[in-house]
Point group: C2
Chain length 467, copies 2
């Protein structure tokens, strides 16, 4: 077979220089036809669209084509031709076909319409399907949008540690990391495990957040963001939880509450706009096959100004709704942690646009949030989105050493391994703020997929670490 | 103090609209002066350069300035002025100064010239130094270069899993991940730990490479790259080893050896050129303070065509050198794993340019590398750089199922948990190739730093997981 430089299918589909001999390589999605002519739909992952290979069967040896089956990998030379059929502008009239890799009929992706559950069990092959090809191309694009956004704004990408020996959020939901021989654990006379022989010389675990280290960086480099894996050993088998997920956590020196909410809104709009501008084919496929409201929902977010809603006002609106006859499963009162139904009422029914809720009761938020003068609320922010609820959680941080320590003592937070965090408030402390975005939450919103296990290549969940 | 919108110092230093009232915020690097006038060097992390704040002491209350000490955080209003002194084009004549955060004299960064060892012990504060500010800004830029390069080439960023229950490189150097109560391990009648109660229902560990999962993705999406943390539980206390480091692993369907080496060369040149184009101030600082040959070395890499050197020819060159009287510590013979001294001889003395060595003896390379027709060598590649040695390791992958299995059996590699990897060779296999780049190795080269613990924010090494 003549050697011709390969053209990616995404590129070949845009060409109009009909009559040119081209080479494409990819995997057979379908093969159909009759005795005179065969049609092969070939895909190479560069786009959701297949290129149609037309095979004049009078010119090809049947034996040479017997391995051209669903899933087989081909190299095809052929003439770029204006397509006769509808649905595509070009096709390739094959002049030579080489089977690079055959695919027998035990191939699990032979039939269409496999369930999402089944596809999860073959997560090593599901990127070859239309849906997961689209999802993972969008996943790439959202990561690129995030890096580009922060780079253009002068933020620095900062790698916070994955393995940590100091964490204040409680060890119950953390994965322990060890190199000790579990068959020969050394213990002291009280029966306590001696961690001296462990790799780090002390007990270590996987990070649940890079925020605290991110604050160290922001108070030196000015503006930083993290983008890395994060772990929760929660035994939650739900469509919204992963044991291993990716988080983005920007942190900004000198930012106040208004600047924080402006950043949150601008950032998320930028990402959604990037998807609309750069992932059109994949979004249209998902809009057709997965969620008919997807593109309209994405467009509505980009075009709308988000509401700023103090928690106290939010409670009033919910109480008025209840007074007006609206029923909720969970009670509403000042100080309650809003349930998903409350958030969705505010976003989808009352305001009909994304809401950034601010100034939460300090009791339901983390110790590090900046305390308001009222003594009751803190400068926390949750960005609430239609369909998925909270997509971003952030806050202005309490930069005053005494106020922070008072809160830490009030809550009995063990800080003995956290002296370094407190140093930021001891030495040249500065106002700062930041937020966290669960990358897979963003992807649920942007792809319309309904299970978080379907927006990450290899989901880790209770009893599942395959591949 | 009048509220004026903050300007970043990187931007203020470029402005020429003298006479304008501006606000800057940042940390005091130094304060000096006499009774009439004070000079404050202020830095906000946006650039290595400080802005000089000039304080007319006849106009300021002394008490208001007593907290303006090294490390303090300030907000300064002042008039943008053409600088009288040399070394900077602009300065700010202060009209008002607010101390946002004081800094007492226990601040560990008060004195200049701290050792690298000492700075590692205060890794939470070292980003506030010139050297580490420069290093971490360059670190950000190299990450951005990598994402931009691959995005422009049509690669997709693919997140391979961090926690894995299947790995073929041997558990000895891996970190175990568990949620089991180590005080109450369940064992069966033979005394084996029952992992059924562990989070994943089986033994799990931290990934040592995303390559195998990357191959799954490349044989579906065409071209992918990973960029994520990777772990080795090696008890190596050297300036070249980390227990937690970041790796970049691109994988390309349909690529052969020539395309692989072309990608390796083009990629690394792109990154180095990005540093020269975008990190000039930081590089000049490092060139002056850390390594006088840095910028010249970076420029030479960008301007040079890399040598392609088959291993067998490399051995001949080394043998000729030995015959000519060159002494090496380690022996040279066909089949030996080249030592650092051999690689450096080839790169720094013989060719005086980067070398991509190819076609290694199969015995010294991994099982998955594509076997050459000679039956002795495989299509592995190492990119060898001046000063640091191997910076990239890659290979064409063996895509033939039978050849791959033969090698796996020859080497007794346990593949029972790796059925999914072999499926890529069973279903529509295709030629493909990829490489791995240790991100911190790249940073050693680009920054001129000599210890790998100084190019990652919070290094994890034996007995060290602080911060």
């Amino acid at each position: 077979m003549e050697s011709i430089k390969r053209t990616k299918i995404a590129e070949v589909l845009k060409r109009t220089d009909f009559g040119t001999l081209v080479n494409v390589k990819g995997w057979v999605r379908t093969r159909r036809g009759n005795k005179q002519v065969g049609f092969i739909a070939l895909n190479d992952g560069s786009t959701i669209n297949n290129v149609q290979i037309v095979v004049d069967l009078t010119k090809f040896d049947e034996a040479a084509l017997k391995d051209v089956t669903t899933g087989a990998c081909l190299s095809v030379n052929g003439v770029l031709t204006a397509s006769q059929g509808s649905g595509q502008a070009i096709e390739i009239q094959a002049t030579a076909i080489e089977v690079l890799g055959a695919c027998d009929n035990s191939y699990p992706l032979q039939k269409k319409g496999s369930s999402m559950e089944f596809l999860r069990s073959i997560a090593h092959l599901r990127p070859r399907t239309n849906t997961f090809g689209a999802v993972f191309r969008i996943r790439h694009n959202m990561a690129m949008a995030i890096h580009t956004y922060f780079h253009q704004k002068g933020f620095y990408y900062f790698h916070t540690p994955i393995i940590t020996a100091s964490d204040c959020e409680g060890a119950g939901q953390m994965f322990q990391v060890t190199t000790m021989n579990l068959y020969d654990l050394k213990k002291d006379e009280k029966g306590s495990i001696i961690y001296d022989s462990d790799f780090f010389g002390k007990q270590a675990s996987l990070t649940v957040s890079g925020q605290l280290e991110g604050e160290l960086a922001a108070t030196a480099l000015g503006q930083i963001y993290t983008f890395g894996p994060t772990f929760r050993a929660e035994n939650s088998n739900t469509p919204r939880h992963l044991a291993e997920f990716w988080m983005i956590e920007p942190e900004v020196a000198f930012a106040d509450l208004d600047e924080l909410t402006a950043l949150e809104e601008d950032f998320i709009k930028y990402c959604v706009r990037w998807a609309l501008d750069n992932c059109r084919d994949d979004l249209e496929f998902l809009n057709k096959m997965i969620d008919n409201g997807l593109i309209a929902r994405l467009e509505s977010v980009v075009d709308t100004e988000f509401v700023r809603l103090p928690y106290t006002e939010g409670i009033k609106i919910l109480e008025q709704a209840i007074a007006g006859g609206r029923k909720f499963e969970f009670p509403v009162y000042w100080g309650c942690d809003l349930a998903s139904e409350h958030e969705r009422y505010l976003v989808e029914e009352h305001f009909k646009k994304p809401v950034i809720m601010i100034d939460y009761p300090k009791e339901i938020k983390a110790f590090y949030m900046k305390q308001n003068a009222d003594g009751k609320t803190v400068q926390g922010t949750d960005v609430l989105f239609p369909q998925i609820g909270e997509i971003i959680g952030g806050s202005v941080r309490e930069e005053n050493y005494d106020k922070l320590m008072a809160r830490i003592e009030e809550l009995h937070i063990p800080m003995k391994d956290m002296w370094w965090y407190l140093d930021t408030r001891r030495y040249g402390t500065c106002p700062h703020a930041g937020f966290g975005l669960g990358f897979e939450r963003l992807l649920l919103f942007v792809t319309g997929m309904s299970n978080i296990r379907d927006v990450i290549p290899f989901p880790r969940t209770p009893r599942n670490a395959e591949f």
